[in-house]
């Protein structure tokens, strides 16, 4: 059993977190409170020293860039968050949030169109058939895409043929979900293995 803090402390933390599997307990509470505090501080320092300060130094480097001055607007709006958090008028923070939403939306539109819609549609448009394996696979893919899309209908209840297709859609979706579940189980088990290895190899030295 190794007693150097670099191993001991993480090992203790690991055991405490595992303890939640049995039931909620004071030690878990301790770790949680400490974690909330540290995570908050960590995030703050990180965004300050890797996001804000480099940007500032960049602004100092090329002072001419108009962006530097336009960004002052966002600084003002951002300050609105702090005002509203201490109960002052919320107009500024409303603007700040709206601007964030707008930028997010604007960035999303072309990228979603390209990657999630057009590219996926084009990829599905391949010759289908039953004679060749490729053709058959293409057929199955096409079937899954078309039915999977038509599972969701919002303006009127699917009836008759449409209902049939949308049910098929649900089935094909379930195949995908099952697949994903299997994969995730895999990756999470890996993580658990890693934690156990840490405990029995690095901490307790039972195996090498």
């Amino acid at each position: 059993m190794s007693l150097e803090p670099g191993v001991l402390i993480p090992a203790i933390v690991t055991l405490i977190v595992f303890s939640i599997l049995y039931k909620d307990n004071p030690l878990f509470r301790v770790a949680e409170r400490l974690g909330v505090g540290m995570a908050a501080g960590y995030a703050l320092i990180l965004i300050l020293r890797t996001g804000i300060l480099p940007r500032l130094s960049g602004a100092v480097h090329n002072i001419a860039d108009p962006a530097n001055y336009l960004l002052l607007i966002s600084v003002v709006l951002g300050a609105g968050f702090i005002f509203s958090s201490i109960g002052k008028p919320k107009t500024l923070s409303r603007y700040a949030i709206a601007s964030a939403a707008a930028i997010g939306a604007g960035l999303a539109i072309p990228y979603l169109t390209q990657t999630l819609v057009l590219a996926q549609m084009k990829a599905t448009m391949v010759p289908v058939g039953l004679s060749t394996k490729a053709g058959f696979n293409a057929l199955v893919i096409a079937f899954c895409v078309l039915t999977g899309m038509s599972y969701f209908s919002f303006s009127k209840e699917p009836k008759g043929m449409r209902a049939l297709i949308s049910d098929m859609g649900l089935y094909t979706l379930m195949i995908a979900f099952g697949t994903t579940f299997g994969h995730f189980a895999m990756s999470r088990i890996t993580l658990l293995i890693n934690r156990f290895l840490f405990l029995i190899r690095d901490f307790l030295h039972i195996i090498t």
């Binding site: 909620d24 949680e32 974690g35 909330v36 995570a39 908050a40 995030a43 509203s84 958090s85 919320k90 923070s93 949030i97 964030a100 939403a101 930028i103 997010g104 939306a105 999303a108 072309p110 979603l112 169109t113 390209q114 819609v117 057009l118 590219a119 549609m121 084009k122 990829a123 599905t124 448009m125 391949v126 010759p127 289908v128 058939g129 394996k133 199955v140 096409a142 079937f143 899954c144 078309l146 899309m149 038509s150 969701f152 209908s153 919002f154 303006s155 009127k156 209840e157 049939l164 049910d167 098929m168 089935y171 094909t172 995908a176 979900f177 994903t180 579940f181 994969h183 995730f184 999470r188």
Partner: protein
């Protein structure tokens, strides 16, 4: 009728499911292919090596150099192509490499800007400032130390373009969607609209009498994610619904910006409070778990984009015996929501829940979405037929620079 439908489904399912044979052959072939290609390359090189008369032939320069501005970029990049020196193609192990020399068109001061290995027949000069005319020379070097220059390339200058032509399909798509949105908003909103089952159940759950506040989590994504925005919209609608039934809501947020958004949205709105827990997803789910296990909770609603923490959150809820409703646009998390929650909003349903529950206003969004889906569906079907019938022109309409 119902029975026969079930049978049709079963048959179709078997069609999909019972093809391990195909699968087997497929994967096997594919593996072989990848191996074969490797072997192929080797044999080619072997051939080239075996050509004997390496040093006997004269050292020729590279010729027909093509130099042009690289298209659709910010400028500052020139692309060069040339046909290899014959000595390089045939006499393996004689040509040691190439040098690229550049000079401004006006002057004749050629400077070496790059060294390239043998067998290289293209070079991208990424350091050619826009709007300056350049000319290039490709120098062929041998191990024996002598070299020969190509003749000077045609004069070229790089420039930045303002538009990528291959994006026209994207623009068209966006315009079409915008237009559809416009005309759909003009449509009279039907007063009796069909509500998607899971969304209806969600609404019904929210208006059930609760003694404890409902717990709402707008995902753990940043506020610039569309899913988070949709989730906040949904939250607004749900609060409108439950206020009439005197239910309270407690919103737990992980992302700081989303927290400010939630507080803004709940401003002067009784029956609801927002708590900022932690920007760190793991710590957030830890605190959430503790909350769930220590405080009584009836209903928990988790909507928005979530990563691995989704199962941590829902498991905590189910241990606390809460009735859980969850939805996410993150496809890889949906199965866990399905297996731990009483009710799941799959993918796009999350985006449509807000509009469907809204009393009026942009409820037309539902119509719009169905129309978009129908159009995409038909285009897709045509495309699949088209691929069969060889309508390349049609499929090229969806080309967005996919290589």
């Amino acid at each position: 009728m119902n029975g026969c439908r079930t049978w049709i489904k079963v048959v179709l399912l078997m069609l999909i499911g019972s093809i391990p044979l195909y699968a087997q052959i497929n994967t096997a072939d594919a593996l072989n292919d990848s191996v074969m290609s490797g072997i192929g390359m080797d044999s080619v090189f072997a051939e080239v090596d075996s050509i004997a008369f390496a040093d006997t032939l004269p050292l020729t320069a590279v010729d027909n150099i093509v130099a042009h501005d690289s298209p659709n970029d910010a400028g500052g990049v020139v692309e060069l192509y040339w046909t290899l020196s014959r000595a390089d193609v045939l006499g393996q192990g004689r040509v040691s490499g190439y040098q690229v020399l550049r000079s401004e068109a006006s002057a004749d001061e050629f400077r070496i800007i790059a060294r390239l290995g043998p067998g290289t027949d293209r070079f991208v000069d990424t350091n050619a400032p826009a709007a300056i005319d350049y000319k290039y020379i490709i120098r062929t070097l041998t191990y024996s130390g002598d070299f020969v220059d190509s003749e000077v390339s045609p004069v070229v200058s790089s420039s930045g373009q303002w538009f990528r032509p291959q994006y026209i399909p994207i623009i068209v798509a966006i315009v079409v969607i915008a237009f559809l949105m416009f005309i759909t908003r003009r449509l009279p909103v039907m007063d009796e609209i069909w509500i998607f089952p899971s969304i209806r159940n969600l609404a019904e759950t929210v208006i059930k009498p609760h003694t404890e506040p409902l717990v709402y989590v707008p995902g753990t994504g940043s506020y610039s994610c569309m899913a988070t925005i949709a989730s906040i919209t949904l939250m607004e609608q749900l609060i409108e619904l439950m206020r009439e039934h005197d239910n309270d809501m407690e919103v737990n947020v992980s992302d700081p910006m989303t927290f400010s958004a939630a507080t803004e949205c709940l401003e002067n709105l009784d029956h609801s409070t927002a708590y900022f827990i932690s920007p760190d997803k793991a710590v957030f789910s830890m605190a959430y778990t503790h909350k769930m296990l220590t405080k009584p909770v009836e209903t928990a609603i988790l909507m928005g984009t979530m990563d691995d923490e989704s199962l941590l959150l829902t498991e905590a809820g189910s241990r606390a015996g809460a009735f859980q409703i969850a939805g996410t646009d993150n496809v890889s998390q949906i199965p866990f929501l399905l297996s731990t929650c009483e009710l799941t909003l799959i993918g796009e349903v999350l985006f449509l829940a807000g509009p469907q529950l809204s009393p009026d206003g942009y409820r037309a969004a539902t119509l719009l979405h169905d129309r978009l889906k129908r159009i995409a569906w038909i285009l897709l079907l045509l495309g699949i037929l088209g691929a069969k019938l060889g309508w390349d022109w049609y499929i090229r309409l969806f080309e967005t620079g996919v290589r």
